[in-house]
């Protein structure tokens, strides 16, 4: 490290333009670390998807066998459909509730501040803790609803959507609250002079003004819906049958239950392709990755 410092220090004398700029070498530790633990594994996942490997010994190349198996697996279509449905349902639930709560919480009376603080509490528990909590509360003998909610296909699906919402709506409410506070009040005053009512104001001012907040929140919900793994593993174990087996869960079962790591890697690679494609589309559409300052609005 110290040699970099002196090389950077020498530059100070050389001229004003490059004065005191750090060498690119400073970025190297972070790049190497991230490459080793995130980028290399991603490439390795593609390699392993063309091999047969049971976790012991060395992976043996088997060509396209795993991919063929994946395409023939009826669970893949089911899982992809399920992932899309889960994302769409979570988006609808979380966006509607968080948007309304956030706009409401952006007002300034005392009880709103107190309620907002209470509303935030679920977010403080980890996904695991929340899944365990609802696992207990949905228990057919013990729980609030004395019915086997998780035993039915639609019940299990709705439970996952609800539990995800219960956990993440506080966070999205916070984002919308911040967004709504930045809407210039003059817009509402002008609308009020023109005789627009509260609901007209909501649809003609609040919603359009919040469009960037909506895209930010949407990106986070879509990318985050892949992380419902804990919830699925603890609440439903992918069941009943395979009705809630999202892609990460299929991958986990193939790899760490049946020790078919080659096949698990093929599923993982499909997941990377789907996630990267989705993220690139969202980043392109929304400019989310733009180098905007994060300080505005804080």
């Amino acid at each position: 490290m110290s040699s970099t410092v002196t090389s950077g220090g020498e530059r100070v004398q050389r001229g004003k333009v490059r004065a005191g700029r750090p060498g690119a070498v400073w970025a190297l530790p972070a790049v190497l670390f991230f490459t080793f633990f995130a980028v290399v594994p991603m490439a390795l996942a593609f390699y392993l998807s063309f091999t047969k490997w049971d976790g012991l010994g060395d992976p043996k190349p088997v060509g396209l066998a795993n991919w063929q198996k994946l395409l023939d697996d009826p669970r893949l279509t089911q899982s992809l459909t399920l992932t899309v449905l889960l994302t769409a349902a979570s988006w609808a639930f979380q966006t509607v509730v968080a948007l309304l709560l956030g706009v409401w919480a952006a007002g300034r009376q005392r009880n709103r501040a107190v309620l907002s603080a209470i509303f935030f509490v679920p977010f403080l528990l980890s996904s695991t803790a929340i899944s365990v909590l609802f696992y207990a509360l949905l228990d057919p003998n013990f729980g609030i609803i004395q019915k086997d909610t998780l035993g039915s296909s639609s019940g299990a699906f709705l439970a996952i959507v609800f539990v995800g919402g219960w956990q993440f709506i506080p966070f999205h409410t916070l984002i919308y609250q911040g967004g709504a506070r930045q809407i210039p009040p003059v817009l509402y005053q002008a609308a009020a002079i023109d005789g627009a009512g509260r609901y007209r104001q909501f649809f003609s001012i609040t919603l359009p003004q919040l469009r960037h907040t909506i895209t930010t929140s949407t990106v986070l919900i879509v990318v985050g819906s892949l992380t419902y793994f804990e919830t699925v593993l603890i609440l439903t174990k992918g069941g009943p049958g395979t009705d809630t087996a999202i892609l990460p869960y299929l991958m986990y079962e193939a790899g760490f239950k049946t020790y078919d790591f080659g096949y698990a890697s093929a599923i993982a690679s499909a997941l990377v392709l789907a996630a990267t494609g989705l993220s690139l589309i969202l980043i392109r559409l929304t400019g989310f990755g733009g180098m905007r300052s994060t300080r505005e609005g804080m």
């Binding site: 980028v39 390795l44 509303f119 528990l125 695991t128 365990v132 207990a136 509360l137 804080m298």
Partner: protein, 301 residues
Amino acid sequence: MSHDTLPRPTTTDKRPERRRPEGLRRRRHWTRHANPLAGLGSIIWLVIVLVPIYAMLSASLTGPDKALTGNPLKPPTDPTLDNYNTVLNSGFWHLLSNTVIVAVTVVGIVLVLCVPLAYVAVRTRTRWSGAAFRLFLLGVAIPAQAVVVPLYLLIAKLDLYDSLLAVILPTAAFAMPVSVLVLTGTLRDISEDLYEAMALDGASPLRMLFQLTIPLAKGGISTVVIYAALQAWNGFLFPLIFTQSDEPRVLTLGLFNFVSQFGVNIPALLASVVLSGIPIFAVYLVARRALIGGLMGVGGK
């Protein structure tokens, strides 16, 4: 009415404006009439938030003999702390200290690696620093689930399987992309003039980093601390797959194991959930403003 709009404060800080007269006028505008629908909606959500929490607290105070007879919404007839004792005696402190070690180390690694990277990405405009930044931008899209099999292979080859490091290293790596985004966002706000002034005084880049950049980037740095700590605290997948024995077990995995360990003893299970939430809840009570401000930063707004 029109002069109402004139003294509109444009500051981004909300607190002082609340005390000013024009703030009062604004408040009247927002809440001129009660909005019964919004009020009703917020009460419904209050019930949805509080009922599970209430049921959890009440059931965790119920003796195991009474647990299976009643519905969890009834208040416990004679509250007992037995369930909490059971959990505390089942290795809870060990799980907690492991989790604290993981969280602190992850935050340390992320800061030590990401602050210099963001500093370079903002201060130099070479091809290499741009490429480094884009690597992390793309990294936001890598789901941890997708790389867990090859990481398992790497961890095994490094002989780290079933150790706390096996959890710490990948967790830190996967907390880095968002941290880099947040940090570069904050560092970009520091004026170039300040750097030039220090450069004229002959300051080295290292001195600028410590005397200028870090003090001025406190907001972004605390966001990253909170974000990375939460990631480490709530992480489940890496501990699940990279550890096996009791020794390196963390809190989330402990909770997962309690599900099978306590089986039908749901009150004890819920007591363990309450206990796992207490440390974060304590932090929330002390540092609510910083936590919420930090999380708004993660939201990218």
